[in-house]
Amino acid sequence: MSVQTELLPAKRTVNPLWYKFRKNPLTLVGLVVLLFIILLAIFVPLISPYEPTKIHVVERFSPPSAKHLFGTDEVGRDIFTRILYGARLSLGMGVAVVLSAGVIGTAIGAVSGYFGGRIDQIIMRLMDIVLAFPSLVLAMAVAATLGPNLFNALLAIAIIKVPVYVRLARAETLALRERLYVKAAYTFGIKPWRIITRHIIPNAVTPVIIQVTLDIGDAILMVATLGFLGLGAQPPTPEWGAMISVGWKYLLDYWWYPTFPGLALFLASCGFNLIGDGIRDILDPKANR
């Protein structure tokens, strides 16, 4: 024993997670891009002298310049400023919607998988039905029927995202339920809700985290797509999709108007996708890179 200990190399100084993260340069790129956007969005009142919704008609449609980095829109609002205020909305909404879907879905999936039986069957069939839709079309239908505003758009996206988490958490729960420590807890007479919250969910959470990080980019795009179709945030809210839905009509004459909000959207979504990809590689040893 002592011989073996001596043969071991000196105490590792690099955290293995950090090591894997570092070895994946694209993930770092994603992280940097995202941090950059987040910092700008936080400090935008200090960076920009303009208000996101203040109208200044004299300067309408100014092309990008030192004064207006990304130009101005049809009523003279600074597009750069609006994009950064929009970042607060878009990033916040994307994260919030996926997190809520993740939490709700995991709870339903764990309960459903733990108890099994008829309720489990009904829940799973319901989820199958939701999954059988093309997601964007379903989100559109729900948002359109509920009425076009940001909250309904978020609700629609949450509805289509939940089933994935229910399935993931249920599959994990079914496996965990057979583990010795869960069975032991059961024989000790521990109440089901406590087994679920203390023993099952903490151990079922890894695939959920992977899915959450992979989903955020997609959710951001979806919020914006619904906004673009007029089903999400309404103008003059500086939401990226809503900005593009007004701006694309001016594309041929004032190209900067819809182009820059779209670029921001692309960068944010790309950042999350790169990070999600990296986190999957790190947490999921089975993932085939």
């Binding site: 039905i129 093309p134 239908a141 797509t225 179709l229 819809p258």
Partner: protein
């Protein structure tokens, strides 16, 4: 095989019931009065009641629902509030344009995606592979409406190579309607001018629509190719002196394509969804543009009809995928 098909078809029934329930009840619980939209703000209360009665809006909700279901069974989706035409008629009119666009995008995604995926797998961890990875992440991160806008800017405004909207130039008459797909119809009737012109109009929207799916296909082919290439039978084949294209295509690709089919099938479903956005950007007269125009009018019969048709298509495609799976992989039993 039979069991899979029966299972899927019964699933289809549930899905469609789910669709109608969801859209119908949501649209009847919320405020917003279709009858009011139809008659305008200045109509008298009497006219309003009259129209309500005509639309059956004065009936209890569940009666309305069963009337709607009964209509669906005979292909009656109700009357569009915006166009004042039967929704089924409208959808039939716009359906071919959407299918033509989605099919071409689908073909593009496969023709480019599969070779790219193979290339990435074979040249794993080289510049090719990294470029492929960046490309596919960019693909899934790009909003369809933005790639459409950038496409229009580059290929229409700056280069002036491709048209930016519609299916044909105004000066060119559409070919006689056989299938409703301009490319096919103009080929059948030997109308070369229309063929060339409609292909020209199709290119930009189709590539825009294909971009995201292309990325997904590439990624799937790459990872299943890598998995197959690591298997024993490939090593055995290599040891027996089989290599190059024969090994790659006859031995590896055939097996790697099996999981790809699921992804490809699903991606056709997303193409139908993505078409909504693409058609709006390119003023493409398909079902997607139709439904987006309908949303502004709270035209629920139109929205529900569209959702219904797309859902049928989606579930049927999934059924085809399952059948293809079964036929391609003799190992799958039930």
């Amino acid at each position: 095989m039979k069991r899979i098909i029966t299972k899927r078809l019964s699933m289809l029934l549930f899905v469609l019931l789910g669709v109608t329930l969801l859209t119908f009840f949501l649209s009847h619980v919320i405020p917003g009065d279709p009858a009011r939209m139809m008659v305008g703000q200045r109509a008298s209360e009497e006219t309003l009641q009259e129209v309500r009665h005509q639309l059956g809006l004065d009936q209890p909700v569940w009666v309305q629902y069963f009337t709607y279901l009964k209509g669906l069974l005979v292909g009656d989706f109700g009357t569009s509030i915006r166009t004042q035409q039967p929704v089924s008629h409208d959808l039939l009119t716009f359906f071919p344009a959407t299918i033509e666009l989605a099919l071409l995008a689908f073909v593009i995604a496969i023709i480019i995606g599969i070779p790219l995926g193979i290339l990435s797998a074979v040249k794993k961890d080289t510049g090719w592979d990294h470029a492929g990875r960046i490309f596919s992440i960019a693909g899934v991160s790009t909003p369809v409406f933005w790639s459409g806008l950038v496409g229009i800017l580059i290929f229409y405004k700056f280069l002036d190579w491709l048209p930016s909207s519609g299916r044909l130039d105004l000066a060119i008459a559409p070919p006689a309607r056989i299938t409703g797909l301009y490319l096919v119809d103009s080929l059948f009737t030997g109308n070369w001018a229309a063929f060339k012109n409609s292909l020209w109009h199709l290119l930009l929207p189709a590539f825009t629509l294909a971009f995201a799916q292309l990325a997904i296909v590439t990624r799937q082919v790459r990872s299943s190719m890598l998995e197959v290439l690591g298997q024993d039978y490939i090593r055995t084949a290599l040891a027996n002196g089989i290599n190059g294209p024969v090994l790659l295509f006859r031995y590896a690709l055939r097996n790697a394509l099996i999981p790809t089919i699921t992804v490809v099938g699903l991606s056709f479903g997303s193409l139908l969804g993505g078409a909504v956005v693409t058609e709006t950007i390119f003023s493409w007269p398909g079902m997607g543009k139709y439904v987006v125009d309908s949303i502004a009018y709270l035209d629920f019969p139109a929205i529900m009809g569209f959702t219904f048709v797309i859902s049928i298509g989606y579930v049927l495609i999934n059924l085809l995928v399952d059948i293809a799976y079964y036929m391609l992989d003799p190992q799958i039993k039930e």
